[in-house]
């Protein structure tokens, strides 16, 4: 199965931990995982961020990670600031992800 998740809150929110754990379990069970970071969610994959090693771990396990380049740019986050392997993408890729994944979960709100 292909699992997609959208994260739109920053790393201090509990959502980050939930997304990490869900993704980790799905990968361990042999499923494919696609994550998309948008709005404040882009902070999760900034390399300097405390939580970013967890997302590096998901990348190493084969998850695909993309972020919304526009919302990152608005927050002063360049491609170079992000974890290596994270795609600096856009809404088109998010739309494709929703279309292609078997289950799509959204983590947002405050």
């Amino acid at each position: 199965m292909k699992l997609g998740m959208l994260l739109t809150t920053s790393s201090e929110n509990q959502n980050s931990e939930i997304v990490f754990k869900l993704a980790n379990i799905a990968l361990s069970a042999g499923h494919e995982v696609d994550l998309f970071f948008m709005d404040d969610g882009v902070y999760n994959v900034v390399a300097k961020n405390k939580i970013s090693p967890k997302f590096s771990e998901l990348l190493a396990k084969g998850a695909s990670l993309s972020l919304c380049g526009h919302t990152a740019e608005e927050r002063g986050i360049d491609k170079e600031d992000c974890l290596e392997g994270v795609q600096y993408a856009g809404q088109y890729e998010l739309a494709c992800m929703v279309q292609e994944t078997d289950r799509f979960l959204m983590f947002g709100g405050k």
């Binding site: 380049g69 990152a72 993408a89 856009g90 809404q91 088109y92």
Partner: protein, 165 residues
């Protein structure tokens, strides 16, 4: 004008390479062209030489397209430079200026414009939203269209040429 770029492949063991370097450095300085000297003995240099299928050194690549093997003359470089900077014979069938638009409108407007032309025709897109410079061509290719060129035309604007599938 297209920005020019020189890539000079050399080896520290090659006796003719220093002479080639001298000529290329001189032209690069005179014309204000970015020059990169690549040691083919390094792992990165070896990979890049493979990409261009370089079989001998010194070897100069201009704008990733024109090649000179051996010690180049200034005249030969000037000739190829003119060739490399000549605008290509691509005549767009439709033109859109979406400067000021941000993602996802950059993609949406490009896609709508593409719907108005026939398969095989070319759309010229001018935009200035930096993330879109990568995103629009990537999504176009994903849809099966052919991205012919992505060129930075001045400090802020980019031109993208897409051939409809």
């Amino acid at each position: 004008m297209r920005l020019a770029r020189f890539e000079l492949f050399y080896s520290p063991l090659c006796p003719t390479c220093p002479a080639a370097k001298e000529v290329v450095r001189e032209v690069a300085e005179e014309e204000g062209i970015e020059l990169e000297e690549i040691n083919i003995m390094s792992p990165e240099g070896e990979n890049r030489a493979k990409k261009y299928e370089i079989r001998g050194i010194p070897h100069l690549v201009i704008n990733g397209a024109c090649h000179i093997l051996g010690i180049p003359t200034k005249e030969a470089i000037a000739g190829l430079l003119r060739e490399a900077q000549k605008p290509k014979e691509i005549k767009p069938d439709r033109f859109i200026n979406i400067k000021g638009e941000v993602c996802p409108y950059t993609y949406v407007k490009s896609k709508l414009a593409l719907e108005e032309i026939e398969p095989g025709e070319v759309l010229e897109i001018i935009l200035d939203h930096k993330p879109a410079v990568e995103n629009v061509p990537r999504s176009m290719e994903n849809e099966g269209h052919k991205v012919l060129e992505v060129t930075q035309i001045n400090a802020t604007d980019y031109q993208i040429l897409v051939k409809k599938k």
